[in-house]
């Protein structure tokens, strides 16, 4: 560390909280969450390769309350990271930088991810019963 630490940008102490930076932070958090999800994906695939017995055990793990909560969380994280990621890709192309466009696409990513998560789990729930 330098003897006189310089201020970091953006200066979080005076930064006004708004949808843009919130979604950016959520993007990072969902990314970290999905990285942990790779371990679950690995566990699931290895259990599938190891035979019916171990696959059943993995199924039970995922069907537990904690397992289900994680799966629902990962579903939302995946859908949000996907939608917001596409938003970032458009920015990389230089598109969608207007204030209105940024806010609209941001809300689209959040609400879209929530709606799709509900749809997916409603479908899965229907399949179960």
């Amino acid at each position: 560390m330098p003897p006189h630490p310089r201020p970091l940008s953006p200066h979080l102490g005076i930064y006004r909280w708004q949808i843009g930076n919130t979604l950016s932070i959520v993007h990072r958090f969902t990314g970290i969450g999905l990285a942990l999800g790779l371990i679950a994906l690995c566990y699931w695939l290895v259990s599938l390769a190891s035979g019916e017995e171990s696959f059943r055990a993995a199924e039970r793990t995922f069907a537990s309350p904690v397992g289900l909560a994680l799966l629902i969380g990962w579903t939302f994280a995946f859908l949000y990271h996907l939608l917001n990621g596409v938003r970032h890709l458009f920015w990389d192309l230089g598109l969608g930088f207007e204030r209105r466009q940024r806010h609209l696409s941001g809300w689209f990513a959040v609400l879209g991810a929530v709606a799709l998560t509900i749809c997916v789990w409603a479908m899965l729930w229907q399949g179960r019963t």
Binding site: G31, I32, L38, L41, L45, A49, R56, E59, D92
Partner: protein, 126 residues
């Protein structure tokens, strides 16, 4: 003395003189993951059941196992690039940073390798 103009020297390079490669790799893998993850997501969702026999039969179809291997490979790569940036952004102590970056690499190779090996076992039935 360099004959290159100041503009020519800085174009495409930040203070670290590298990084655009990392940036590109992250974007390219992101684009590749759009069809790959959607394929995986919808394939599982549209299976009549998610029991052992159905999933095993589905994944042992060559096209499924091929795309599953690609998915895991690109996913692992993209995830590594992302978490690497997170570590670089927030861990400033040199020793801890190096340790975490190396740990991440080992963890990703292990996790990705195990996943791909599992898919191949399903595909080739051993």
């Amino acid at each position: 003395m360099s004959l290159r103009s100041p503009l020519g020297r800085v174009l495409g390079t930040g203070s670290a003189k590298e990084g655009s490669g990392h940036w590109w790799a992250q974007r390219l893998s992101a684009v590749a993951l759009i069809p790959l993850t959607l394929w995986f997501f919808f394939s599982l969702l549209l299976l009549p059941e998610l029991d052992y026999l159905t999933v095993h039969t589905w994944l042992s179809v060559p096209l499924s196992s091929f795309f599953a291997v690609l998915l895991v490979a690109v996913l692992t790569y993209h995830s590594y690039l992302g978490t690497q940036v997170v570590v670089e952004d927030y861990v400033h102590a040199n020793g801890a940073k190096l340790f975490l970056l190396l740990l991440l690499r080992f963890a990703y190779v292990l996790c990705g390798g195990a996943s791909i090996f599992a898919i191949l076992r399903v595909a080739f039935g051993s």
